[in-house]
Structures are given as structure tokens and as C-alpha cells.
């Protein structure tokens, strides 16, 4: 989580159950087939993970087109590094780690470019993260669908204002529903750090979403 690691540096220490590798429909078996040139196997992997990865990167970046590009880049990297892949961890951990690194890299690029964020006009005075501008509409909304949409939009905007180190674990836990253990593997940090960051992220969100709670 602290630094972006290349795919070549992605090493796994834990061991995986042997049956996970021998199962011909498992992710590992598909990647093994991809390694020897089976494009159908790679297509199957893509079909399994394309929505998850696109969605995850979209939640991280709040930019759908960019998320699709980064999701494709994720699969390109998986394909390119297929020969170097070690089947010692879950494939999902591996691909989520790549996606996380790409998303964080993109967020940092945006920060360097100082893109004007339409959702973060109001920077805090101490130079911290931009404060969310969430004008509360006091008028009653009769349409519940509209209310739900508006709430979702507000949540997404609130997430996009979180610091990146809090954003990734929060999305992986509360949106994707992953375990602390898996998140710690994806982010290459300890479970305690993951729990702490998620707690802090929820605290930030509670402050920003007071009007909706």
C-alpha cells in the first residue's frame, strides 16, 4: 500500500491448497493454460473478473472511462506476467493488487496534475484533503428512487475525497465485502493496519454523510 510494486516484485509467501491448482476450472489452472498459449482460458479469466475489477477501480477513481482503461491495463499486465506468476496465493488477491496499484498510481498522477475536481471545490485551509461539498436539499423528495440515487451519488463523492490509503481498504471491505485477511494481502500490510484504516475511513465518511445518516 505504501509504494507501488511492479508485477515482477509481486511474490507470495503463503501456500495455496493443491486442489485449487489442479482444478481445471480454477483461476490458477486458467492462468496456467494462458501461460502455454490458451487464449480461451485467458478469455474466461477476463469474463470472471472484468466487472469486479472495473467496479473496484471505478469506486477508487470515480471515473468510469478511466476505470475501464485501467481494468484493461490490469488484464494486460496479468497476461504479460503470466509466465512469472506464482500459484501460491489466490488469483483474486493477485489481480486486485495490480488493480489497486494502478488505481493509486492514477490518483497520484491526478494529484500531480492538480486536476480540478468537480466534487472537491472546497479545500481545507490546512492543505489537507478537499472537503466534500454536499449541499443538503431540505425539500422533501417524493420519489424514493431519486432519493436512493442521490444518496448513492453522495456516498461515491464522499469516498472519492478520502485519502487513498483509507479509500482502498474501505472499498474492499464495505463495498466488495472482502475479509480483513485478504485485504491485508492485497494491500501488503498487516491486518491491524487494515482495521485501523477502515475505522478511520468510516469516521471520515460519517462526518461527511451526517445529513444522510
Amino acid at each position: 500500500m505504501d509504494t507501488l510494486s511492479t508485477i515482477e516484485n509481486l511474490t507470495f509467501s503463503a501456500t495455496l491448497r493443491p486442489e485449487a491448482v489442479t482444478d481445471p476450472t480454477s483461476d490458477h489452472a486458467l492462468l496456467e493454460a494462458t501461460r502455454i498459449g490458451d487464449e480461451d482460458a485467458f478469455a474466461e479469466l477476463v469474463s470472471r473478473y472484468r466487472n469486479q475489477i472495473t467496479s473496484y477501480i471505478y469506486r477508487m477513481t470515480n471515473d468510469y472511462d478511466g476505470a475501464v482503461d485501467l481494468a484493461q491495463e490490469t488484464f494486460v499486465r496479468v497476461y504479460r506476467a503470466a509466465e512469472r506468476y506464482q500459484t501460491t496465493y489466490a488469483f483474486s488477491t493477485y489481480i486486485y493488487r495490480i488493480a489497486t496499484n494502478l488505481a493509486i498510481s492514477e490518483l497520484r498522477k491526478r494529484k500531480r496534475r492538480k486536476l480540478v475536481s468537480l466534487t472537491g471545490f472546497f479545500q481545507s485551509r490546512d492543505g489537507g484533503e478537499p472537503q466534500e461539498f454536499n449541499p443538503v436539499d431540505d425539500k422533501p423528495l417524493v420519489d424514493t428512487v431519486l432519493v436512493a440515487d442521490e444518496r448513492r451519488l453522495a456516498v461515491q463523492r464522499a469516498i472519492s475525497t478520502l485519502p487513498e490509503k483509507y479509500r482502498a481498504p474501505l472499498i474492499l471491505r464495505d463495498v466488495d465485502g472482502r475479509s480483513y485477511e485478504e485485504i491485508s494481502r492485497i494491500l501488503e500490510t498487516s491486518e491491524g493496519t487494515v482495521k485501523s484504516r477502515i475505522s478511520r475511513a468510516r469516521g471520515f465518511l460519517r462526518e461527511k454523510m451526517t445529513a444522510y445518516l
Partner: protein, 274 residues
């Protein structure tokens, strides 16, 4: 004590996943603590909102675009074929390159003594420096004495040209600086032990000697200065008794002018006018 319980209870509320049951002690604490109950309710609402975000689907042409991207990647990587070659092939390539370099060095080292031996066969002693130069001058015949590049001995009579017999210089000293002729590098074979340490004197060059019979009178000689040392004089008469004489100096090319002005180019050189 109450704060401690609140902290523990809130930690449990934070860590518990949706649908999981909290511990009995945490539940007991929630029955008595309104703040923690509010914290739990906020947490559940927030969890509900985050879950409601749902999943975003990839576009329909995702696979197609990915295939196109992979194809482009492969095409873009074609120039770097060397990187994808096997280790054996790369090793062979490196070995071949080293062999070529070695052969080139061997060729250069073998070629240098051949040049000096050729000079010896032609009766041209190699130009040397210091004491060696004196020895060679004494041993060789005056006609074959070699003049070091750019230096003309003053007292050597063999270098003096008989102006009455020859209108042109008998000897022409060429140097690398003048650029008239390519020069050859002289070699000196030292006598250190039996090894015959070879050294090369790159500072001096062998002088080319031109003899009168070797000079091409047609003008295709390597020495392009005209044979006449006098300037061209043209007299013009307008028919009324008035005449004018125009003197055209000989063409000069820098230092070669000395050759044209002096009675003898070598003598001129000997006077340090070169």
C-alpha cells in the same frame, strides 16, 4: 470503566461483518449505553449505503478492446526482439562480438611491424627521435637520409639543391600537418632484453623524398608549386609610347610561398623562414 466498555464495544461494532452476531458482553453494553447504540445505528446505515453502491459492469466491448490492446502491445514490442532471445543465442552473439574485436586487435598488432619492414625494403630508414635519429643519419647514405617531419637539417649538403641544374626542389619534405601526402608511422624496436619491446613513435612521421628524376614534369607531381620562382610580368603598350608593366606574383598557398620566393625552397627552410 464505562469508557473502556464503550471502546471495546465500538471496536467490535467496527469489525463485525454484516449479518454476524456480536458478543453477549457487547450486546449487554448496548442495552445500557445510548451513545454506542447511536454509533452502531450510524455504522449500519453507512454500511447499507456503501453496500447500495453495488457493482458497475464493464462495457460490452471490453473483451474486444482488450484483445486489440494486447495485439497492439505485441506489435509494439517487436523491435525489442533481442530481449526475448534465448540466453544461449545471446551468449553466442556476445562471443562473436568479442571474437571480432580480438581479430581486429590482432590485425592491428600484426600490421604495424609489416609497415616498418616495408620501409626498410624500400631503403627508407624509419624516422626516429633523440639519439636514434643521429645514428640513422650517419648510417644511411646522404641521399637516403630521411628528414624528420617539418625539420630540415641546416648543415647537411645533401639537402642543398643546385639551383642552376634543377629548377625545382630536389627534396620535398612532406609532413602530416601540410597534408600533401599521407604519412606513415615509424616504428622503433627497442632492445630491452630478448623480448624486443615494441614502441611506436606517433610524434614523428616518415618524410617522403623526391628525387629529380622522380619528379613528374607534366605537373601531376605531388608537389604542385610551379617551377618558376619569378613573378609573371606583363608589359602593356597603348601604341602612343606609354607602357605599363604589371607584375603578377606567383600563386602562394600559405607556407609554400617560401618555396617560390627563396632561391631554393630548402635553403629558405634552412634559414628558418619556413
Amino acid at each position: 470503566m464505562r469508557n473502556m466498555n464503550c471502546r471495546r464495544a465500538r471496536r467490535e461494532i467496527e469489525e463485525v461483518a454484516t449479518g454476524e452476531v456480536m458478543s453477549s458482553s457487547a450486546n449487554d453494553h448496548l442495552k445500557t449505553c445510548a451513545e454506542c447504540v447511536r454509533f452502531r445505528d450510524d455504522r449500519l446505515k453507512l454500511q447499507e449505503m456503501l453496500s447500495s453502491l453495488g457493482s458497475v459492469e464493464a462495457p460490452g466491448d471490453f473483451d474486444f478492446r482488450l484483445r486489440a490492446r494486447l495485439a497492439n502491445e505485441e506489435r509494439g514490442r517487436q523491435p525489442f526482439v533481442m530481449r526475448n532471445l534465448s540466453v544461449g543465442f545471446r551468449s553466442a552473439a556476445v562471443a562473436a562480438m568479442l571474437l571480432l574485436v580480438g581479430a581486429a586487435l590482432l590485425f592491428v598488432s600484426l600490421r604495424t611491424p609489416t609497415d616498418s619492414s616495408l620501409s626498410a625494403k624500400e631503403g627508407k630508414p624509419s624516422t626516429t627521435t633523440g639519439d636514434q635519429s643521429g645514428k640513422n643519419t650517419q648510417q644511411g647514405s646522404p641521399a637516403n637520409a630521411t628528414v624528420a617531419a617539418g625539420i630540415v637539417p641546416k648543415a647537411d649538403p645533401s639537402h642543398v639543391v643546385d639551383e642552376k641544374k634543377n629548377a625545382v626542389a630536389e627534396k620535398v619534405v612532406t609532413s602530416k600537418r601540410s597534408g600533401f601526402r599521407p604519412t606513415q608511422v615509424a616504428s622503433i624496436h627497442g632492445d630491452r632484453g630478448n623480448g624486443g619491446l615494441k614502441t611506436r613513435d606517433l610524434a614523428s612521421t616518415e618524410a617522403r623524398v623526391l628525387r629529380p628524376n622522380a619528379i613528374d614534369v607534366t605537373g601531376s607531381s605531388v608537389f604542385p608549386i610551379g617551377t618558376s620562382f619569378q613573378s609573371l610580368k606583363v608589359s602593356l603598350d597603348d601604341g602612343r609610347g606609354t607602357s605599363r608593366t604589371i607584375s603578377l606574383p606567383s600563386v602562394s598557398f600559405g607556407s609554400e610561398r617560401v618555396l617560390a620566393q627563396g632561391p631554393s625552397p630548402l635553403l629558405a627552410s634552412a634559414r628558418s623562414d619556413w
